[in-house]
């Protein structure tokens, strides 16, 4: 929090000295800096929302300090960019922002073909086990507890399925406890936080990636998984659900349906292949270039 105010002071100083046309500030830590630069320079301000205090907290226990900064800065901004309609709805309904002020610019994704790695968890694969992957922070926002509940339902039908949880976070302890109490220790693996090649290897080894987020402004993980040739099941409470057709979608709380779709993916390989093939092709329509063009257009309109 202090950091945000320090940024604001510095931004005011810089804005006094430098020559520029537009202020574009990303995420709440930079909002105050954007606002003070605007006050000093009188230039138009764009705030770019990648997440809100409501996402982090999954709607409970919203940090009042951050919420206050968000609300006040949104009032001062000339334009607000959100990474999805999902996030636009949040700032309109929760922060009271005028919807006309908000522009949605979906994130893009990198479309270079990643190198293939030798599979990880080879022992399990050789035994014919199927791997369902969660990759992300283990926090209340991410819905890992719903993932574990779905795992229980899946394993009841098909004990041959292994669920890998890759990531760390303040809820990890609670999730481990849940795995134990649901007697899932044999079927759930905690891989820790994986990065770089280890993470890519895991993407490539998985049969399905699940992103069960309770509230996800965008969500790049399913796009990354697709690039690595793995289809995804994502929660409807995510921004990326607005731009992805070739994924399975489910309400994060609908554990029964989540389990149904996990099992269906394993039962029907033709569907899995089509989701990957057509999904990869569709990634080209979700490019960073298109996102950049939209932002440039926004700049032009503000400068008119």
């Amino acid at each position: 929090m202090e950091e945000a105010y320090r940024f604001a002071n510095q931004a005011a100083l810089i804005a006094e000295d430098e020559d520029f046309d537009i202020i574009h500030a990303h995420d709440w830590v930079a909002y105050l800096a954007g606002v003070s630069a605007k006050r000093v320079s009188g230039k138009p301000l764009i705030l770019h929302v990648h997440a809100t205090s409501y996402d982090q907290a999954a709607s409970d226990n919203v940090d009042p300090g951050i919420l206050k900064i968000e609300k006040e800065c949104f009032q001062e901004a000339d334009k607000i960019v959100t990474v999805s309609n999902f996030t636009k709805d949040i700032i309109v309904n929760k922060h009271g922002v005028d919807p006309k002020k908000v522009e949605v610019v979906h994130n893009g994704c990198d479309v270079t073909e990643p190198p293939r790695h030798a599979t990880t968890l080879r022992g399990l694969k050789e035994q014919g086990k199927k791997i369902i992957l969660y990759h992300g922070r283990i926090t209340i926002q991410k819905g890992v507890d719903y993932f574990v509940s779905a795992a229980r339902r899946v394993v009841d039908v098909d004990p041959n399925v292994v669920f890998v949880i890759s990531g760390s976070g303040d809820m990890a302890h609670r999730i481990m406890h849940q795995v134990g109490s649901m007697s899932l220790s044999k079927n759930v693996i905690f891989a820790g936080a994986l990065w770089g090649e280890d993470r890519d290897r895991m993407y490539q080894s998985a049969d399905l990636l699940v992103m069960p987020s309770v509230s996800e402004p965008f969500g790049l993980v399913p796009l990354e998984a697709l690039q690595h040739g793995t289809p995804a099941l994502i929660s409807k409470q995510s921004g990326v659900a607005e731009v992805m057709i070739h994924v399975l979608k489910v309400d994060f709380w609908d554990v029964e349906e989540m389990a149904n779709k996990i099992l269906a993916t394993l039962r029907y390989p033709v569907m899995r292949e089509q989701m990957v093939q057509e999904g990869k092709r569709s990634l080209f329509t979700i490019s960073w270039r298109e996102a950049a063009n939209k932002v440039i257009q926004l700049y032009r309109n503000l400068l008119k």
Binding site: R153, V157, I245, H246, L248, K249, E256, E257, A259, N260, K261, L263, A264, R267, Y268, V270, M271, E273, Q274, M275, Q277, E278
Partner: protein
């Protein structure tokens, strides 16, 4: 002389409910969704009845009563008729009343609105027969002109129709096969001598079916006078204007507030103001005019999308997987001899199930999204394949029983109760050779050994020993 041949297609599928993997083996009902979603068949039929069937039939009845020249054709899928009988009997009665006028022709079709002709001709023939029986019993008539699901057509289908006594068959008047020629005449399929093809004038048909309510269309708002003028302009260069469209155009695809009902109400009188313009049913059309040339359609032609082919039903891998899995079960399903199983399998052949799995997200894709009760093509595929898996399980169960019954009767072991053999068969699965078994079973087993070894179940259990 120019005649107008209107034809409206009435169809409702039995949509598969959200059937989950967990339901396989536990739930034999696939079409009984009772939530307030668009998968609830009763709800949809009642909704469309209010928006389309009831008000449109009322207008059509008035038109028949007031214009002695007015006539048209209807086609019904058996799946729609069944649902009218079940959910909205008054709608069925109003259709029966229209047909009783003698000026409304009913066309032949497959009962299940399926693509069976392209996957199994014998199955197709059974569905056409079933349809004919249904039409006969509900309307007291026998169709003489054929139309196939989604107006799908090919040379060999026309040949089949000729061989089976139909006078005419309907197809899309598509430029790819017509070339410079006009759809406003009758044509003959190659290798056929008698049957004639009625070609849909897709420009004039789609002006009503697709464009009528489109405010961005240059001819919006379309009046009956303007439209009649377009039709009259074909005097001298055509004989029949074939206007083929979904019945649900009236009130469902084009809502009441577009003015579609007023348009329909006034069209016949405006059209027949021209002294040389009147209406004909398809059979009358076929009997009135000669074919002016041969139309050669070696590949499947439909009335769908801009492609006019089957790609909306079989264009992607999940669609092909689902449809091939369905038709792949044919001999096993028929072997059961179980009417309920066979009928359920046929209801799964309805083309709509495959249409919902379409992923052509171009301009056409929007139409598909609009007509699908599922949230995604993958949701449609999962529900369908789960239901089909359950059906396969039921089929296997019955056929296994039949195989055992068959082998027992073959060797005439009359004193052995069939049920007991089956029960024993199930028990043996759990037991090994060493477990003591009743002596009669050993005697029976040795005497029947050669027979039982033909059954995969027994050869497997031996391997385990």
């Amino acid at each position: 002389m120019l005649t107008v041949c209107p034809y409206f297609h009435v169809h409702q599928p039995f949509r598969v409910k959200r059937y989950r993997v967990f339901d396989i083996g536990n739930d034999n009902e696939y079409f009984n969704e009772d939530s307030e979603t668009d998968l609830n068949n009763r709800r949809i039929v009642e909704k469309v009845a209010n928006k389309s069937y009831r008000p449109t039939n009322k207008i059509l009845q008035e038109l028949l009563d007031n214009h002695e020249d007015f006539r048209f054709a209807l086609s019904f899928s058996g799946t729609a008729l069944e649902q009218f009988e079940k959910y909205t009997p008054d709608v069925l009665e109003s259709f029966q009343k229209l047909v009783a006028s003698g000026r409304v022709e009913i066309l032949a079709d497959t009962y299940h609105h399926s693509l069976a002709f392209f996957y199994s001709v014998p199955e197709f023939e059974r569905q056409v027969k079933q349809h004919e029986n249904k039409i006969k019993s509900l309307f007291g008539v026998t169709p003489r002109v054929f139309r196939n699901t989604e107006l799908s057509y090919r040379n060999d289908l026309a040949k089949w129709c000729e061989d089976n006594g139909y006078l005419g068959i309907m197809a899309e008047g598509w430029g790819k096969y017509l070339g410079w020629r006009s759809p406003n005449f009758l044509y003959q399929p190659p290798a056929c001598g008698k049957i004639k093809v009625l070609l849909k004038n897709y420009k004039l048909s789609d002006d009503v079916a697709f464009r009528f309510g489109n405010r961005g269309w240059e001819s919006w708002p379309l009046t009956a006078d303007t439209y009649a003028g377009w039709i009259h302009s074909h005097h001298g260069n055509g004989q029949t204007i074939n206007l083929f469209m979904d019945y649900e155009t009236f009130g469902e695809h084009q809502w009441e507030d577009t003015g579609i009902f007023d348009f329909l109400r006034s069209l016949p009188s405006v059209l027949t103001q021209h002294p040389d313009t009147t209406f004909k049913t398809p059979t009358e059309t076929v009997l009135s005019y000669d074919a002016v040339g041969v139309i050669d359609v070696p590949e499947i032609l439909t009335w769908a999308d801009t492609d006019r082919d089957l790609t909306a039903w079989t264009g992607n891998d999940i669609q092909r997987d689902a449809i091939n899995a369905t038709y792949g079960m044919e001999s096993q399903v028929l072997q059961t001899g179980d009417e309920n199983i066979i009928e359920t399998w046929r209801k799964l052949q309805t083309s709509d199930h495959f249409y919902y799995m379409c992923t052509k997200w171009s301009n056409d894709g929007d139409v598909h999204a609009y007509f699908s009760p599922y949230q995604s093509p993958y949701d449609a595929y999962i529900a369908f394949m789960n239901a089909l898996s359950d059906l396969q399980l039921r089929v296997n169960r019955i056929n296994q029983t039949l195989v055992v019954e068959q082998s027992v009767t073959d060797v005439s072991v009359a004193e052995v109760e069939i049920e007991e053999v089956i029960r024993e068969k199930l028990r043996v699965e759990e037991e090994s050779e060493e477990t003591p078994v009743v002596s009669w079973w050993l005697r029976l087993k040795s005497s029947l050994k050669s027979w039982f070894m033909k059954i995969p179940f027994f050869s497997n259990s031996r391997k385990r020993d």
